[in-house]
Amino acid sequence: MNATYLKPEERAVYALRELYRSYGYLPFKMSKFEEYDLYVRNKDFLVSDRIITFTDVGGKLLALKPDVTLSIIKNGEDRPGYKQKVCYNENVYRVSGSTHQYKEILQTGLECIGDLDTYDICEVVTLAAASLSAVSQAFVLDISHMGILSAMLDEITTEGDIRREIAACIAEKNPHDLARICTEAGVSEEDTATLRDFMTMYGDMDTVLARLLPLCRRYEAVAIAHGELTELRDHLKNTPYADRVHFDFSIMNDMSYYGGVVFCGYLDGICECVLSGGQYNKLMKRMGRKAGAIGFALYLDLLEGLPHTLPAYDVDVLVLYDTATPVSAVTAKVEALRAEGKTVSAQRAIPDKLRCATLCDLRKEGASC
């Protein structure tokens, strides 16, 4: 196969399937439809809660799946030491944030579910970096840990609205509204200053870990998260991606579903996060599973935004023939040109919208093209 004809997202599908299979992630094929109830019970986990529904022949309310993870984790067994490693390449149906219309989105990704250990976390995060690298060398993978902010907020307030507003400010790197919200909520100046300092912790892994140390002394959960991030840093330092992986605590997923490492990947030239993932142990618990889980998805539709050069021509050769030209002559010419590695379009008239490098007119007697 000539890979130059493939679009970036098509090339990515092949490259990533090979990558995931090489680490033992088995393909998981799922139905396009799921029972609507699955999504209603976990609607905050979804990127958008607007779902396309329909009634099936048996009267059951079904949905065109807006998410892959829920379908994968709803079944499976929890056994000590056992892990299910799956990869997928699936369409999901969501409302686009920019157009506010339903959109079919092609996702590729993987999930590691079961009795997880540090190796599994390191493997999945490394595969996230490798996935971005397979698409473009100009990438950044930003990693955060949901346990840190969660621990800080537990000490500050139990009020859900205030917690959400503070988390939103951290996600926006918005120090001014954070100060206002803290003042209005009666958060102490010391805690407000700690949150503002936390917001500025991003960049290379060593620097962020060093800046996080004072918080470890104050919050036990932060010390645990620091330990996990340190192990991850040590692992990533031995990969080719170390200089493209940063820690940034503005990366945030819903705290009621995600409980550990979360991450987002960016490609230069694309204006939004193209890869998103993390540890969703809390979701597993809500779905009655005892196991841990980590995974990520790469949004292949966004890769259309990657800069690429359009070929100067649609085909190398346009072969023109008429009703008097023997079929065998057209076939022979087309196959000969293809054998030379050229792309060919055989037509009886010059199409309006076809750019060809050369013309081979078999209508002329003794054509030698």
Binding site: G97, D142, Y266, L267, C271, E272
Partner: protein
């Protein structure tokens, strides 16, 4: 090269003055012309003049790396951007206003005229108040006078327009000012440049305070 979306109008000119003072000058920008894009390769900046309500779209979609947008627009459309700095310019407030003799006893659906339907809907939802939103695009103040609505939700700067139309502020929803916003992906690839320009702007804001 840093791409900067500026809101057309007085606010944009004030903001450009701050960028220029911070060392990101582009003198051609102030020359009278119909051009909308201005570049100074030496300073490493390209400015665009865009409609104030569109700045957030340019930044969110990555056409601009950074830009300046009012907090009203950010609250209404909730673009997925970083909000790096409160520039303390264009200060006003989002408020509920009504005729001075209006009293809301809470016994019936409140009719709310506004340009900012999302802000109004969220505000009253937080108060569990049933409302009927009437979306208008301008001259909001006349809605209560003509009986189209009970109240309006709008930006109030000095309150002069309200007074002239026999209206008064009943509740303040939120203070509003211009914010320096940044595309989340651009922040990852141009971190040093964006941090530098933000710190220069921050120094000016603190000096003026």
């Amino acid at each position: 090269m840093l791409n900067i979306a500026l809101p057309k109008g007085r606010l944009g000119e004030k903001v450009y003055a701050m960028f220029a003072e911070a060392g990101y000058e582009c003198p051609s920008l102030l020359e009278p012309s119909r051009k909308l894009i201005f570049e100074n390769p030496e300073a490493g900046v390209r400015y665009f003049w865009v409609k104030p309500s569109d700045v957030a779209i340019y930044v969110e979609r990555g056409a601009a790396d950074i830009g300046v947008a009012g907090k009203d627009i950010l609250l209404e459309y909730r673009p997925d951007v970083f909000e790096l700095l409160d520039l303390n310019l264009g200060k006003c407030r989002m408020a509920v206003a009504a005729k001075s003799d209006f009293y809301d006893d809470g016994s019936r659906t409140l009719r709310v005229a506004t340009k900012f339907t999302n802000i109004a809907a969220r505000y009253y939802a937080s108060k569990c108040r049933e409302i009927d939103i009437i979306k208008l695009n301008g001259s909001i103040e006349i809605a209560p006078i003509l009986g189209l609505s009970d109240v309006i939700v709008d930006i109030v700067e000095t309150g002069k327009t309200l007074v002239e139309n026999d209206l008064e502020v009943k509740e303040t929803i939120l203070p509003i000012s211009a914010r320096l916003i940044c595309n989340k992906a651009a922040f990852r690839f141009k971190t040093a440049e964006i941090e530098k320009i933000t710190s220069y702007m921050k120094a000016q804001v603190e000096t003026h305070d």
